[in-house]
Symmetry: C2
């Protein structure tokens, strides 16, 4: 039995409690200051209101003020915050960390700089930790296609754990793995995080097609949708993920595996990113869409705006050509200026016309 | 203006008439012996009953008995038959072919032998042509995500034309391309055809998950589907496509581009392959499912049964390991023996656990 604390009581972090409890571990769930209602419900009714499920037996919920108590003796910390909470969790955990602890994160996103750097969240988190503890804890992350509600429902789910530390990976996999939670392992944490961030961004493009269909009058009398358009966007999104992986010197095969195409596929089945894309496709500005979706964390837009910062420098440095990433460039424009009705499909797949 | 005959009046072949007519070409539509009702409707009402649309103005429909007249003077022949019609169309076209003609095919599938050969349809077709005409015509094919009803509805569609002959490719692209029909080109016809065939096969796996969800009681009270499972299958399917491309010495990047992930995505949005997969996932035998879907061409099952012939030899020859293609091996078993309820997910992604 391992002592584990999940910090951040959103759906994804909380859902990891199911395989962990099924494996008999001691699991504590710590809400952030935004999760007060969730933790209250967990404490009073042992019910997670966002997952709409009773918590697994034996789980212990904690308010953020009780975090010191919750973290007492834990070996593994699951970081369940969303992309806006990465700095917060680093600052919050910092004083409590002890050598040898493992932090495994479900957060998806990245931070970029105007010099062209794309920084994955485990590095963001690490840089916020007290200097004397930074190298005494090991970081890991979870990628791959996993809708939280399905994991909490003990549905078959296949995920990838990433960490630079192979021994830690083995330990994590053994801790989390159940008959329904299938865990693959990679030491290429960076590639895993790149996929996790970009599949969110590119799902916005699929949502854009859904909105555009509605704006164009919807399904026609002969029952034609715009799946062809969505599929072209999906293919371009996978292709751009492969190119980001190549630029990072990473594992390009992730683009057509669980972390890339697999996770992209599941994200495009529904959820807030698709809803945001739909609103933008309908012609709403990003500001309007944000108002309509108030209360939802729009991580896809965050990633797009982060990469927008880095792309000019990467292009100026010659790392990427001006023809590359037409979908991402379109998405940046859509967030910044709204969608004008042109998907610029002829710019897609610039490397496709290979004549051998 | 180019003289073009579409042979086979199924939805996909017929749909190419829209961009062709929009470009002002002379387009004739020749039904096979199975398309008699379609051609009758086209002749009498200028209406395609399966596409549920009026034909573009100026198109000329022909019964199969009128094929000689229909092919008179044509420069391009669109082969619109399904995978069961490849031998038929070769034998039917053979006597009428003239040097310099181009045959461009929408047929998806492949034929395999027990010695491990996987033969793409353009090669099957070629081998059936009279020996003296084989090398006097150029073959090409269309891949990428394109639902016929959407193309006929002039919805944005992105496709890939493949042909070993670059000049022919340029000509075809110029002939077909419109503001809504976006054409990429590849001389790697083999890789294009491999993707086209296998994405059908692997879509059966996604359908299997849908049937399994129903059989397991459907969406649960907390609204959990089985999208995670479907996404794992989708990722495994893309991964296996990439491996087939590697074995063929082909363009592996197709796996995450339009011909692979893009076409797989659109095929998994609905249609007969998904319906067949659902029935199998519900526990029906392939024989039962075929009866229920009587009248539909089950191309995915055809591909799976073809590859089933070649896989033992490929494994014995050491071209593939017994651990490779777990999804395809499962699908073969499902077609041959029915689905037993185990997706064997732990066999997926055998090359994923890379520790660097």
């Amino acid at each position: 039995m391992t002592q584990i604390a999940i910090v951040g009581a959103g759906v994804m972090g909380s859902a990891t409690a199911w395989p962990l409890r099924d494996n008999g571990h001691d699991v504590r769930l710590v809400g952030t200051h935004l999760d007060r209602d969730i933790i209250l419900s967990c404490k009073e009714q042992h019910f997670h209101p966002r997952l709409k499920r009773r918590l697994p037996e034996g789980m212990r919920p904690y308010f953020v003020e009780e975090i010191a108590q919750a973290l007492e003796g834990v070996e593994i910390i699951v970081s369940g915050v969303n992309s806006l909470g990465v700095h917060w969790i680093a600052k919050t955990l910092g004083p409590h960390l002890r050598p040898g602890q493992i932090i495994i994160s479900v957060t998806k996103g990245l931070e970029a700089t105007e010099t062209g750097e794309l920084k994955i969240f485990p590095d963001v988190l690490r840089d916020e930790l007290p200097a004397d503890r930074r190298d005494q804890v090991t970081q890991a992350a979870i990628g791959g296609p996993c809708i939280a509600g399905e994991l909490a429902g003990q549905r078959q789910s296949c995920v990838v754990f990433g960490s630079p530390n192979g021994a830690v990976l083995e330990r994590l996999a053994a801790t989390f793995r159940t008959s329904y939670y299938h865990v693959w392992k990679t030491t290429d944490l960076r590639s895993l995080e790149i996929c996790a961030a970009f599949k969110n961004a590119y799902t916005l493009g699929v949502g854009l097609a859904a909105g555009w269909l509605e704006k164009s009058g919807g399904v026609d009398p002969a029952e034609a949708y715009m799946h062809n358009l969505a599929a072209a966007i999906f293919g371009q999104g996978c292709t751009e993920m492969a190119r980001w992986l190549e630029i990072a010197g990473g594992t390009q095969s992730f683009a057509y595996g669980l972390p890339g195409a697999g996770d992209y596929y599941v994200t495009a089945q529904g959820g807030r990113t698709l809803r945001l894309g739909r609103l933008l496709g309908l012609g709403k500005s990003y500001a309007e869409a944000r108002q309509i979706l108030a209360g939802e964390t729009l991580e896809a837009a965050e990633v797009i705006l982060q990469v927008a910062k880095a792309l000019p420098a990467l292009t100026a440095q010659g790392v990427v050509t001006p023809q590359e990433f037409p979908l991402l460039r379109l998405l940046i424009e859509v967030i910044e200026q709204g969608f004008k009705g042109d998907f610029r499909l002829d710019e897609f797949f610039p490397g496709m016309n290979i004549m051998r």
